[in-house]
């Protein structure tokens, strides 16, 4: 089949569309593609991390409420790299040991110090959960605009080309517009998963943080009871 003139040049595969595009549109497309890759990388990473954290929480809670001695638990955990609830537990126990075993006088001061230590650890852990969710949000909100920018630039150049060629034939107009629209398509392709992922992971992170906070409060109550008991026995001994 021999095609003549415009029909021969009107190759509209995705690759040819990309190659026909101008430099700005190409940069926009490449940037959006990179954003999409980054979005999915974050999604994969977060999914793995959150699953892992959830599993750890479950294990820790199981161990914690199994009636095992806290001293023993502390001893086994302090050797390892801990995160999440374990980290909170280790931080609180460390503070408790430091203050109580050296013979702290004020139980209120001790309680406050333990709470502070747990809060700091909690904040650090929560931050690690929410890390990179911000970039998801940025991609989700800015992606369509970036794509639209590419489209507008592409359509501008294609209209300039039409003005140059002095032909409004649809075969002349169409490829330029299709190529320009590809930028918006890629923008949407990157932005939609990013928005969905951001909503899901921020909700997950909030849930995990709440769970950690609950544990911290519980553990704080246990420790406070322990402090009271120890102080009483010490006073009785004296």
């Amino acid at each position: 089949m021999e095609q003549v003139g415009l029909a021969a040049t009107a190759d509209v595969t995705l690759w040819s569309l990309f190659m026909q595009a101008g430099l700005v549109v190409k940069l926009v497309m490449i940037g959006l593609l990179a954003a999409s890759v980054w979005t999915w990388a974050i999604m994969v990473d977060k999914t793995i991390a959150f699953n892992k954290a959830r599993r750890q929480f479950d294990n820790f809670e199981q161990v914690f409420w199994s009636g095992q001695s806290l001293e023993e638990l502390y001893r086994t955990l302090s050797d390892r790299q801990t995160s999440g609830m374990g980290a909170i537990f280790v931080a609180a126990m460390r503070e408790w040991k430091k203050s109580f075993e050296r013979g702290a006088r004020s139980p209120i001061g001790l309680q406050m110090r333990i709470d502070r230590a747990m809060d700091v650890t909690l904040a650090r852990e929560a931050e690690s959960f929410e890390a990179r969710l911000g970039s998801l949000a940025t991609i989700g909100s800015a992606g369509p605009f970036v794509g639209l920018f590419g489209t507008v630039v592409g359509i501008m150049t294609s209209f300039q080309a039409i003005a140059g060629s002095k032909s409004t034939n649809l075969a002349v107009v169409a490829p330029g517009i299709a190529e320009a629209l590809l930028a918006t398509a890629i923008g949407l392709l990157a932005a939609i998963p990013a928005v969905i992922a951001y909503n899901k992971f921020s909700a997950d992170a909030a849930k995990l943080s709440a769970r950690m906070e609950g544990f911290a409060d519980e553990f704080s109550a246990i420790l406070s009871r322990q402090i009271d008991e120890k102080l009483q026995t010490r006073q009785a001994a004296q």
């Binding site: 979005t39 999915w40 990473d45």
Partner: protein, 371 residues
């Protein structure tokens, strides 16, 4: 994070290659190979109005007059018939049409043929009578050489010398007029008649009077002769110029199809169509300078009645009627309308075949819509 980034990249690469493979080049739309049709807007009047046909023939989808036998000669003929000339009247059945043989106009000769008006003949007659015995007027006329001989003979014999002055110019004038080879015998006949008349009329006693008369007549005759030289009208040859063909009516348009019901003539849209009317109105509006911001102009309605001739020019004055609004506005606008109509006078674009409908046109204007 590194692992997930790699995972994401790999997945993206896979998806992209899949997209490139599956999207590929989208199938071009199949365009049906339809033959293009010219579309024209035809006014419905040409179909809904009476079509040319035969009044007695049965009804058919397309009306057509009785078929004719002769081949087509006349172009753009309107009336159906076997005639060679397109005439509106009904054909006379008995006459077989024949080629007309109308005589060509006589060639213009250097010397005009003698005008055989009775006056001249009368003079001749009187001249013959006044001298006594020689009744040879024709010979005198025919031979110019004989003229000088004739004169001396005739002169002495008449009683007074009154005829002399009359005769000499006459005789000189005669030879100029005389030699006419085309002369028909009729002329002689015509000449004889007046000869008799003066004989009866003129009593011999009043010769003097007659002489004065002849003098006047001669002057007249001279004038006539002069004028005859200019126009080659010959009353005696009128008959030759006449068309001797018997009147035969009927049109010259040929019909070839089966006769079917219809009117005598296609009256296709004998009314001006809206677009034609608008074109006419537009021509007037273009020449109409309406003063903007005139008070009460919006209430005035103007009706212009125009009579047009076939070239589109106005006959007489346009009648302008204005209603509504104030007196001043009416006056101003009707004056403007009159000027506009006169200015746009020969109207263009009016269909010549619908002249009946636009020979008198009434155009209504709402000046507020033109502000």
């Amino acid at each position: 994070m590194k692992a997930s980034l790699i995972t994401s990249s790999v997945v993206h690469a896979m998806v992209l290659t899949l997209a490139l493979a599956s999207f590929g080049s989208p199938e071009p739309f199949e365009v049906m190979d339809v033959e293009s049709l010219p579309v024209d807007i035809v006014p419905v009047e040409s179909i809904t109005q009476i079509q040319q046909g035969d009044k007695t023939a049965p009804k058919a989808e397309k009306s057509s007059p009785v078929p004719t036998k002769r081949p087509d000669i006349v172009e753009n003929a309107e009336n159906v018939g076997e005639n060679t000339v397109d005439l509106k009247n009904t054909p006379t059945p008995n006459v077989k049409p024949k080629e007309t043989e109308s005589a060509a106009a006589p060639e213009k000769t250097e010397k005009a043929p003698p005008t055989p008006d009775p006056v001249q003949e009368e003079i001749k007659a009187s001249e013959e009578q006044a001298p006594a015995p020689e009744p040879v007027p024709q010979e005198v006329a025919a031979l110019p050489e004989s003229k000088p001989e004739v004169k001396p003979e005739t002169k002495p014999e008449p009683v007074p010398a009154e005829t002399k002055p009359a005769e000499s110019p006459e005789a000189e004038a005669l030879p100029d007029n005389v030699p006419t080879p085309q002369m028909k015998p009729k002329v002689e006949k015509a000449a004889e008649k007046p000869v008799e008349k003066p004989v009866e009329k003129k009593p011999e006693t009043e010769t003097a009077k007659a002489d004065t008369k002849t003098a006047e007549q001669k002057k007249k005759e001279q004038k006539k002769a002069a004028s005859a030289k200019e126009s080659d009208f010959n009353a005696d040859e009128i008959a030759a110029l006449l068309n001797k063909q018997d009147p035969s009516g009927g049109g010259a348009k040929r019909a070839t199809e089966q006769a079917s019901l219809g009117g005598k003539k296609t009256t296709g849209g004998n009314t001006l169509s809206m677009s034609e009317m608008d074109a006419l109105r537009g021509q007037i509006q273009n020449n109409w300078s309406i003063i903007p911001g005139m008070a009460d102009a919006s209430d005035v309605r103007i009706k212009v009645t125009i009579k047009l001739d076939e070239s589109g020019a106005i006959i007489g004055e346009p009648e302008v009627e204005a209603t509504g609004g104030t007196d001043a506005a009416r006056r101003a606008l009707s004056g403007g309308a009159r000027r506009a109509v006169l200015k746009s006078s020969p109207f263009k674009g009016l269909p010549a075949d619908k002249y009946d409908s636009w020979s008198e046109v009434v155009v209504n204007f709402d000046p507020s819509s033109m502000l």
